[in-house]
Symmetry: C2
Subunit: 523 residues, 2 copies
């Protein structure tokens, strides 16, 4: 079954769309196929096998000796029934390694995430990689305006570009918080925005017990009731490290898991604050927390699709701020992947993390300190793969575009190249001979538009003089223009009008019911 | 013997210098040890073993069937004596694979490069890595002035910063061409500049037959006559691809090799121009050229220390310009390392290559597309590791500093971290418990200034508001200030006044002899 996904190359939808319009898109980014890259090489392994076992053993001792707080009555009940040692008053659980590993072993090692456009269905597992836009940002910035809080229209713009560009595998739906919409109905407006603007796989927040109910109900409108056997929703939950999950996260995750939907379980650890400062301790604690979260969901529904999430980095001890795109973060990213492989679980890492506030050189190199180890470690779900700035508080138009260039480069890089009589071209080498020139040969001419990765305007490759004549623009300026150009090319994917009407009716009814609720208090 | 180099950590010279001055340097960059990083992990392998053999076989066929031009009478004589098929009129050589591999096998797999300060002696081979500044740039740019041609004073500034910062292993001596000095005497002024401003390992251009004579003569003044058994000079030569070496390069390389000095042999191939456009062909041709160059030097002096150089990338087919920091360049970098390992030769790659004209996001990410594969492939000699902009035509103050941040990050990254009872800190995890905070623990407090990589001002880690209050500077602006700060902290290393006088006398005499010569015509 997996083999079909290794070669999953749909007809590029942008090409079809442009064919309808009677013109080809001129941005090379839009000519790429929608395809999940696979890392054909041996994944980066920072730790030796015995060191991985050393970390594993430490994680087991943490859960056995220190325990973990599950601030949720239903979860405490689950663990009591499963046979763990529980302090119901503290809502603390101590999990024996035999019990834990037995539960974790029930989680599947790979699964698909079903999209409403089957060409956009994706696969999590093995050496397959997916790229997801930045999510959850409070602010938006661009060269066109000062930093401000996000709105629903901003969110829709990011969904549109995510839908349009083939290197993005999910159009997100949470890139920026729509702060012009009340919290109690935000998930409904967001779901409408997602289902009407993208046919790629989709998420929704598994937070609390009300929001997931609505997410499931709306998914049933789109995908049919009962839902397909394969999951159609995915969400991420975070531990409140150290060693604690709150009821909002546990309630949401249990709601998704019970319906067979995907939950990524991600401890968020800044070494020196939420864990001891040494990376060995931070990673051992991350591992304990991730496994405890996944095991919880396996009690609720054995075989529930879970992704092991890693999000460990250091804090800058001078400013006290989280530091992203660091050597420490790179270690943690790669070691998290090694641990996930040890437990036969798909792995979630991140892509564009940086501490930079501008789309400058720092943004460029910090992002590469995140994306290189993520890709080379076979990270199956690369979250925050485009747009992240400012330690995750701010999303940027320009950074989003710059990051797309990097994702496209990685897709090309991982594709490798052919070695054959044809590509070795020994006849041409002989014919041109020493001291000759290959530009005009039939071999080169036949391949010159397709052989190499083509930068899509962000990467300027002109001579200095031409670049100066063109205004000596920095990359972020060019990215701004690309953002606008892409947004202008967006077209809505088809959606059955009956489904859209049913979605809107459902949302309208629920909005009336929820408008005065505080969902953060409602579990 | 190698073991001593694996652990080679000299007392940081900046610390000693500052101790003399009675103050500690405040830039974390200056507190790093002078140390050669080693890649402790399995190197990145893009091709499988049978694919490497496929490339190897193609390279052998190229040298046997197409041959290679050696536009130098002495070289033609060497190959005739060695038994190759030679066309003396064309000055073309066809090299049988048995003859070729027998010669290449005589080159050492590792060796040291002796510095006049023994603490700065470096090792080429195995998984050891060295970082060398950008070299040979025609222009200089900075935020302080428009792009202009380089001068001797500019060159000296780069040597000073290279000498000062411990992450750079050679202070270069060719970062920018001193175009205010006549070509015929440039090598003499440059040698004086190098010997009086740095005690790190040094080069000199192995070009033609006059310049190397002066380089050797001046090295004897500094290191003694006869020269030490270990090489004290290194230089790079390029093939004039496809399949051609000119007399200037061959004469220089032979002059160095005969004296036992280090020659890096680097074909410079832009796929689609100097080779067929397909990467398989470009790499097979690179391999043929590099091996033919190294074999030539082994005829002249069996055992001469040679480094296998790779410098293959693509041209941008839209602009016709070379493209650096590309997926194609990354493949070639890593595969070059695989080939060098196959022949048991040290490997040279590059570090900061990019096509960007400004120190912007493109400069950041393109450089990481060069440096990540270089480091992860165990590139022993990472040339152009700092300062490169504009496809290699221009060096930049700001880019130099930004690149130093990346080199420092890699040095930290490759150092890994300890996994022990102490660093796993299970007692602290238990003591703090679920939901607690680790910032104030004794474990964290004892390590908070030393545990993690500290950015040296270029990487801003403040909160957005503080960054705005501080002027919302982009990374390049901060780098400009760091450049000036470092330059101001430079101090000359000690040099025996008798040696300095002898060097200056030699150079003065030779300048009188050479001032009217055209060394480009003089072989």
């Amino acid at each position: 079954m997996q083999a079909e996904y290794a070669a999953m190359i749909a007809t590029p939808s942008a090409e079809r769309r442009s064919a309808r319009r009677g013109k080809r898109p001129d941005n090379p980014l839009l000519k790429l196929p929608f395809r999940q890259p696979r890392n054909p090489w041996k994944p980066l392994e920072i730790l030796a096998a015995d060191q991985i076992e050393h970390i594993h053993a430490a994680s087991m001792r943490i859960l056995e000796e220190t325990g973990i707080d599950m601030l949720d009555d239903e979860t405490i009940e689950l663990w009591t029934r499963a046979g763990a040692k529980v302090d119901a008053e503290l809502r603390r659980v101590w999990i024996d390694r035999g019990l834990l590993m037995g539960l974790v072993a029930q989680a599947p090692s790979s699964f698909r995430h079903h999209a409403r456009n089957p060409e956009h269905t994706i696969f999590y597992g093995e050496n397959a990689i997916t790229f997801t836009p930045a999510a959850g940002m409070a602010y938006l910035t661009s060269r066109d305006f000062p930093r401000r809080t996000g709105t629903l229209n901003d969110l829709i713009d990011f969904i549109k570009v995510g839908q349009l560009v083939p290197v993005i595998h999910t159009a997100g739906g949470a890139s920026v918080e729509p702060q012009d919409v009340p919290v109690s109905i935000r998930h409904l407006r967001r779901a409408i925005a997602v289902y009407t603007h993208t046919d790629k796989v989709t998420g929704g927040a598994a937070h609390g017990r009300v929001i997931p109910q609505d997410a499931i109900a709306m998914a049933k409108i789109v995908f049919g009731d009962p839902l397909p056997a394969e999951p159609v929703l995915s969400s991420n939950i975070n531990a409140s490290s150290p060693l604690r999950y709150d009821s909002r996260m546990l309630g949401g995750a249990l709601s998704y898991a019970r319906e067979g939907q995907i939950v990524t379980v991600t401890p968020f650890i800044l070494a020196g604050a939420m864990s001891p400062i040494s990376m060995a301790a931070a990673i051992a604690q991350q591992n304990a927390e991730a496994l405890a979260g996944i095991a919880t969901l396996q009690i609720a529904r054995p075989g529930a699709p879970c992704i092991y999430g890693g999000f460990t980095t250091n804090i800058d001890m001078k400013s006290g701020s989280p530091a992203f795109g660091t050597p420490e973060g790179a270690w943690a990213m790669a070691i998290g992947a090694q641990l996930a492989r040890r437990y036969h679980l798909p792995y979630r890492g991140s892509g564009s993390l940086c501490t930079a506030k501008a789309s400058d050189a720092q943004a460029g190199y910090e992002t590469m300190w995140t994306l290189w180890p993520a890709v080379m470690s076979n990270t199956n779900q690369i979250v925050h793969a485009a747009g992240w700035l400012d330690g995750g508080l701010t999303i940027s138009y320009e950074k989003f575009i710059l990051d797309l260039e990097m994702l496209a480069m990685f897709q090309h890089f991982l594709g490798g190249f052919e070695i054959s009589d044809d590509t070795l071209a020994l006849d041409y080498i002989k014919e041109v001979g020493p001291g000759g020139h290959h530009f005009g040969t039939a071999h080169t001419q036949a391949r010159y538009t397709t052989e190499h990765y083509q930068s899509f305007v962000v990467g300027d490759r002109q001579a200095w003089e031409n670049w100066e004549l063109a205004g000596a623009q920095e990359a972020a300026e060019r990215a701004n223009a690309v953002w606008k150009d892409l947004l202008a090319q967006y077209e809505k994917p088809a959606l059955d009008p009956g489904i859209e009407e049913a979605l809107r009716e459902y949302a309208a009814r629920r909005e009336r019911e929820l408008i005065n609720e505080n969902l953060y208090e409602k579990i």
